[in-house]
């Protein structure tokens, strides 16, 4: 079967019960998930959770201890390693550029390693994508960390990969450089590139990813950020009044879509609701009807960080676990 035809239509990544141990130390265990084509998939977890080892395993640099996977439709077995590497690109956390060579010379080397047709055009296109067309002749040692990260991204794009693994692409970058990388990822998403993004920057995952998985040696959860919030946290409204309500139970008891309430300070109330769109107008009407001076009614928003902390915040840090094993 022709390489290009392999696995078209199926998921970009399909992982079943994958585990990796180094001797007695578990890097990750029984990890299963699928990533659709064109999806930006976030892989979150604390330091030592096994994120980078997972990427290296899926990138054929490391052999899994057990389990199976298909990468771009190709089974992850040692004899398929080269075929898989032709269809993916990995941008490691450290850019790993040849600092004495120029940007163009770095890219030229990798274009040849991927045997890309028309390498000059590919290099020019990759540099345009990361807005570095005018820095092609700069020696990499002279570039800032953010620019080096963009060169590494250009290098990862040279082969037009079906799946792009980005391992902590914004680690150590300042906010401006971080924003530039985010915009690049957005552009790649629009081009339909499947992106597997490992990060522990939760706002980054929330902003960029269609779905996220949270790993702490084992996979804790997987889903869209909004779904995860809904799964873990009851929806709620916060109500603030000018003065304490004389009989809040009477006001909130029979409201539609309100399942319960509890006080939050002297003039605050948190309502557990099944549908904020129904509960908020009803609560407003009831409060006004009872003569209360309402300062605010708002939906309580849980962030992906709340989800993350709920799932792994009470765990022993993964890197400490690894040290103990």
């Amino acid at each position: 079967m022709d390489d290009q035809d392999h696995g078209r239509g199926g998921p970009a990544l399909s992982v079943h019960g994958l585990s990796k141990r180094f001797g007695n130390r578990v890097a990750f265990e029984d990890v299963s998930f699928e990533v659709g084509r064109g999806e930006v998939f976030g892989f979150l977890g604390p330091n030592g959770a096994g994120k980078t080892t997972t990427v290296r395993t899926l990138g054929t640099l490391i052999t899994p201890t057990s389990g199976s996977a298909e990468i771009a439709g190709i089974p992850l077995v040692p004899q398929n390693a080269e075929r898989i590497r032709r269809r993916i690109s990995i941008m490691p956390e450290s850019p790993g550029l040849y600092l004495r060579l120029s940007v163009a010379e770095n890219l030229e080397c990798f274009a040849d390693l991927y045997r890309t047709p028309d390498p000059r055009e590919r290099i020019a296109r990759a540099l345009r994508t990361v807005d570095l067309a005018d820095r092609a002749d700069d020696v990499c040692a002279s570039l800032s960390k953010g620019l080096r990260q963009r060169v590494a991204l250009a290098r990862a794009l040279l082969s037009d990969p079906q799946i792009l693994f980005l391992d902590e692409p914004t680690a150590g970058l300042d906010p401006v450089a971080t924003r530039a990388v985010h915009e690049l990822i957005d552009r790649l998403r629009r081009r339909g590139v499947t992106i597997f993004l490992t990060t522990h920057r939760l706002e980054e995952a929330e902003r960029l990813c269609d779905r996220v998985a949270i790993l702490n040696t084992t996979l804790r959860t997987i889903g869209r950020p909004g779904e995860l919030r809904d799964q873990l946290f009851a929806k709620s409204l916060t109500v603030t009044t000018l003065a304490p309500l004389p009989d809040p139970d009477h006001i909130f008891a029979d409201l539609p879509a309100v399942d319960g309430w509890h006080p939050d300070g002297s003039c605050g109330y948190i309502l557990a609701v099944s549908d904020p769109a129904v509960a908020a107008p009803a609560a407003t009407r009831a409060l006004v009807g009872a003569g209360a001076d309402v300062l605010s009614i708002s939906s309580l928003h849980h962030s992906l960080q709340d989800v993350y902390l709920e799932l792994v915040g009470t765990d022993t840090p993964a890197d400490e676990q690894a040290g103990r094993r």
Binding site: F22, G23, T53, R56, G59, L61, I62, T63, E82, R85, R86, I88, S89, I90, M91, P92, S94, P95, G96, L97, Y98, L99, R100, L101, E105, E108, C109, F110, D112, L113, Y114, R115, A152, R155
Partner: protein, 240 residues
């Protein structure tokens, strides 16, 4: 197994560019053979015409075959450990390049400057002998068969040293340890060439051909063995 000449060329070009931007690498390569030259030069330049007779029946010039055994070891020992140390090994190994292609590219890139330095140092020795030694000593010492042996054996011995250095480089993570062990690995070849130079092993055309065959075999085996010990997982994770 089909090899990609384009990938091999990419590695060679990359390595040569790095050498060119780092002249200290080539200078360092030349230091050991220059030191190696001092003792024989002092001896030869001190000889009088009366020594020319016995010298014509010796093979002192073959002593200099130790140079290609030592010159390439330093950069070969850096080949893998150095990539790992500067953080460039992982991006390289995520490409479709095969380990045989990567190692062959690195070996060729090590061979080119090593052979150039070895020939240059040898040329310096011959020039010094021609210019400063007693003419009778010079004509007794500079025998064409030995010069031809140097020309022919230099790349073969250098290639063997490169594989020894790269094998060590693929096994040890620390560049300094790798280079020191690489130098040690070059010593048996130096010992062999010294034994031939001092006529402990008498050089004959038959022995020379046998040595060529043995070196060709060792060079081919070296590639295979180093490819076999090149373990992506261990190199990336430092485990196994």
């Amino acid at each position: 197994m089909s090899m990609s000449s384009r990938r091999i060329r990419a590695i060679v070009r990359k390595e040569l560019r790095e050498y060119r931007r780092t002249p200290s690498i080539v200078v360092t390569m030349a230091i050991i053979p220059l030191i190696f030259l001092v003792q024989p030069l002092v001896v030869v330049l001190g000889l009088t015409a009366s020594s020319a007779g016995p010298l014509a029946h010796e093979h002192v010039l073959l002593y200099l075959l130790g140079i290609p055994a030592l010159v390439p070891v330093l950069i070969a020992a850096y080949a893998v450990a150095g990539e790992r140390q500067q953080g460039t090994l992982e991006p390289l190994l995520t490409t479709p390049i095969r380990r045989e292609e990567l190692l062959l590219g690195k070996a060729l890139a090590s061979l080119l400057p090593s052979a150039a330095v070895a020939y240059a140092v040898y040329a310096v020795f011959i020039a010094c002998v021609e210019l400063f030694a007693d003419p009778a000593v010079a004509s007794a010492l500079l025998q064409w068969p030995q010069i031809l042996a140097q020309v022919l054996f230099t790349p073969l011995i250098a290639t063997w040293s490169i594989w020894a250095g790269m094998g060590i480089s693929a096994k040890f993570t620390d560049v300094r340890v790798s280079q020191q062990l690489g130098l040690l690995a070059g010593l048996p070849t130096v010992a062999l060439t010294s034994l031939i130079a001092f006529d402990v092993i008498h050089p004959t055309p038959g022995r020379a051909l046998a040595l060529v065959a043995a070196l060709l075999l060792l060079d081919g085996l070296g590639w295979r063995i180093v490819s076999a010990v090149f373990d992506r997982e261990r190199l990336i994770t430092g485990t196994r």
